[in-house]
Symmetry: C2
């Protein structure tokens, strides 16, 4: 049995996997690391696995921000390029884990390009899981979110990656900027035409600093209603992320990993630019942690 | 005598000019249109010109957001290309102005490019003033601010322009984003090396969505201190605005118009990219309104 934890900033997802990597049970709670006091991690863990009867023979692997300096125990970043072996070798094992389980915190990755660092925690596990689920060892993987990651894989190892603050900048513009004044208070369902209009304008605008102002003027000149403006802004911001990529080079290998509501938007946007992308969800995380567990067994 | 008003969102500047366009007296208050009740414009005007004894022969010209739908009286946008003549012809004259003055609200400009509108209010007057002060009739004019404007002038008329939400996005990232967590609370004096590092990284990053994350990792890896991070972020955001320009085409005609603290940053950033720029301040607004007043006299 493997207990897999996807432990992020705002939430904690836990899964119990059988020997073949099948998910037997999955749970979700709000025990993200920002919601857990510094000494509250053992209790949060016990809540997450209640009834699963973990013992000294149980392997628990946790990925995400729980391995950061603000988490349970710091698992220092592993430098790129890195594959599952490098990751497994750098797992931070918790001394005195609750219920005497073997509890390991998966390190994040760091990438140094032209003197500038980039980092991620948790997404590396999703990428390795996606590679296995798809039977691939190369390609470009996109993990949309508050901080989207574009991950380039060669020969089964993460070669390099780049972060885009897309979700966070969307939320800032949506809630705190002048653009918020002419938008409906609640995000309605996605308006696809407005979204795609935003995606295409982002390419033309050349920078979000310029493109975003069109959300204001589209309202001023009555071209877009308050209801569809959030979809347009979403298209502008996601379109900006796509504008910055060398899409012609990644073409047929693009894989989106994340929550369906978000990967669907990226799939739509990429489709409008003529790029095909397939989608994976939470299963990539569980498969990634399970694959790490196997790597540990074979290297033990 | 001309009374010139630069009446914006958050502040009101007033100047009394003699027949040669010299500023006799200048005042500044917080009576921006957002701080004045809908029926409070006459009183705010009287406060601004107190003691200047305006009468039926006095010409008052006001530029800025005071001519917007949320202002005193709407002066609808004038389409580009537009010169002082088009602007003068579309001035909105206030019926029943206080003290029987002739009070005109200068229209803003709008520019339609590929189905997308751009707008400005007030900057057009600064540009026409700058042209006169410099004895020019062409060039690229940059007006940095909450919403920076890049204005292209040919044969004395504004041909087209583009807005960049640079100042606003800086403030959002500075105060409300994850980047704020590792920054000193107060902006200290500009740290030039950190600022220029940001400018150069912005060019390399290709999009602010990506580049901004380097403010986080530079802190994480101890490369930049909390004190200099605001300067670095400022460089990233201004650098992003510059990245999106065709600087090689505007080269020797670049003129910065605005508050010295801001135009100085742009001058530094442009210098690092090998582009020379000269600076003008508030004098451009007064000269622009004075020049409009003359246009009115000759066309009367």
């Amino acid at each position: 049995m493997l207990i897999a934890l996807d432990w992020g900033t705002s939430s904690l997802r836990a899964a119990r996997l059988d020997a073949d990597g099948n998910v037997i049970e999955e749970r979700h709670s709000g025990d993200g690391i920002l919601n857990v006091p510094a000494d509250g991690f053992p209790a949060a863990f016990q809540r997450a696995v209640k009834g699963w009867r973990p013992g000294a023979s149980t392997l628990v692997l946790a990925s995400g921000m729980v391995g950061s300096r603000q988490g349970w125990l710091e698992a220092p970043y592993c430098p790129c390029p890195a594959g599952p072996e490098e990751l497994a070798a750098r797992i931070a094992w918790l001394p005195d884990a609750p219920s005497h389980v073997r509890l390991g915190l998966v390190p994040g990755l760091c990438d140094l390009q032209a003197g500038v660092h980039d980092v991620m925690r948790g997404e590396e596990v999703q990428v390795f899981g996606a590679l296995e689920l798809l039977g691939r060892d190369a390609g470009t993987f996109v993990l949309p979110g508050t901080h989207s990651k574009w991950v380039r894989v060669r020969q089964g190892r993460i070669d390099s990656f780049s972060t885009f603050m897309t979700g966070e900048v969307y939320a800032l513009l949506r809630k705190h900027s002048i653009l918020a004044r002419t938008m409906a208070e609640e995000d309605g369902p996605l308006d696809e035409p407005a979204f795609l209009r935003g995606v295409l304008h982002a390419r033309h605008a050349g920078s979000l600093l310029h493109g975003a102002f069109s959300a204001r003027t589209s309202s001023l000149f009555g071209q877009l209603s308050a209801q569809v403006l959030p979809s347009y802004l979403s298209g502008l911001v996601i379109g900006e992320e796509l504008r910055a990529q060398q899409l012609e080079n990644s073409g047929d290998h693009l894989v989106l990993v994340g929550a369906p509501a978000l990967t669907h938007r990226y799939q739509l946007a990429l489709g409008a630019l003529g790029v095909h992308a397939s989608c994976l969800g939470a299963e990539a995380t569980w498969r990634g942690l399970w694959s790490l567990a196997r790597t540990l067994q074979t290297s033990a």
